[in-house]
């Protein structure tokens, strides 16, 4: 990896964006360095596999680079790149969907009941009882069991820590719809993980 100048490494996001728009490619590279981990995790969470996650990562940053002249500096670069990446990830899923993929949304979207079958307590500290790779596999399987519309909300709210309002704006959903999907996503994931982590 090439070394970036110290002044760039210490710059604020806003300054980097201005520099990048003015044609300073090192500044854009630093923006990529700052957010590539998050965007890869976004891809893994929404698409559910490494190949697609890598495509999402590359396509999102290449498109951002191309469309940088259109980027309005009164909004955050981070929000912009997340929006681009979410779109890329959902497009990937739609392409795969024709076959035997999960539907984008649940039929029970806004007023269905969530059925809870697992009521057992969990063994303490599941994260310490499994090797990292095994734990990742279990958690990935959990995410894959959710419809994509739910994964996306869960990822933005609980993994990335965006607020309900930010998530709603990004996905063009109502605040109520975000809350309803988050509730279902959390309970369904919990149900999946309980099969593995429950006591006894």
């Amino acid at each position: 990896m090439t070394e970036l100048p110290q002044a760039i490494l210490a710059s604020s996001e806003g300054h980097l964006v201005s520099e990048a728009k003015a044609g300073n490619y090192s500044a854009f590279e630093e923006l990529v360095n700052r957010y590539e981990k998050k965007i890869y995790r976004l891809g893994m969470n929404i698409t559910g596999n490494r190949e697609d996650a890598e495509d999402v990562l590359q396509d999102a940053f290449l498109k951002a680079f191309e469309h940088l002249p259109d980027f309005r500096e009164d909004s955050r670069f981070y929000t912009w790149i997340v929006r681009i990446a979410v779109n890329e990830a959902l497009m990937k899923l739609r392409k795969r969907r024709n076959s035997r993929e999960l539907p984008m949304e649940d039929s029970e979207d806004d007023n269905g009941e969530v059925v809870v079958r697992e009521f057992a307590d969990w063994k303490p500290n599941p994260e310490q009882q499994y090797a990292q790779a095994e734990l990742e596999r279990i958690l990935q399987q959990g995410v894959n069991s959710l419809p994509p519309g739910f994964r996306t909300v869960f990822y933005l709210r609980d993994v990335e820590g965006l607020s309900t309002e930010e998530t709603a704006e990004l996905l063009e959903l109502s605040v109520g719809a975000v809350k309803a999907r988050l509730f279902r996503a959390r309970l369904r994931l919990r149900e999946e993980l309980s099969k593995i982590f429950k006591r006894g």
């Binding site: 490619y25 995790r41 890598e54 809350k179 994931l189 982590f197």
Partner: protein, 78 residues
Amino acid sequence: MNCNKAIKEISGYLDGDLDEALKHTLEAHLTYCNHCHAVYDSTRKTIDLYCDGKLFSLPEDVHTRLHEALKRKMQEHA
């Protein structure tokens, strides 16, 4: 408050979204209902497991290919 209603409110409770009265009713239910308490506790743990930043870390080769692709793109534009 019955168990169905309690389970519906757990997500909002975790986000601090419930008004005081509902929060107290739910907390009372969670105190004596083992089932709902287990659901509450494992939902909290589920969120904790996923928000741990160590998951799905960026593989070194993926990072390298991204930066190579970016360099090519930048050269096209230069």
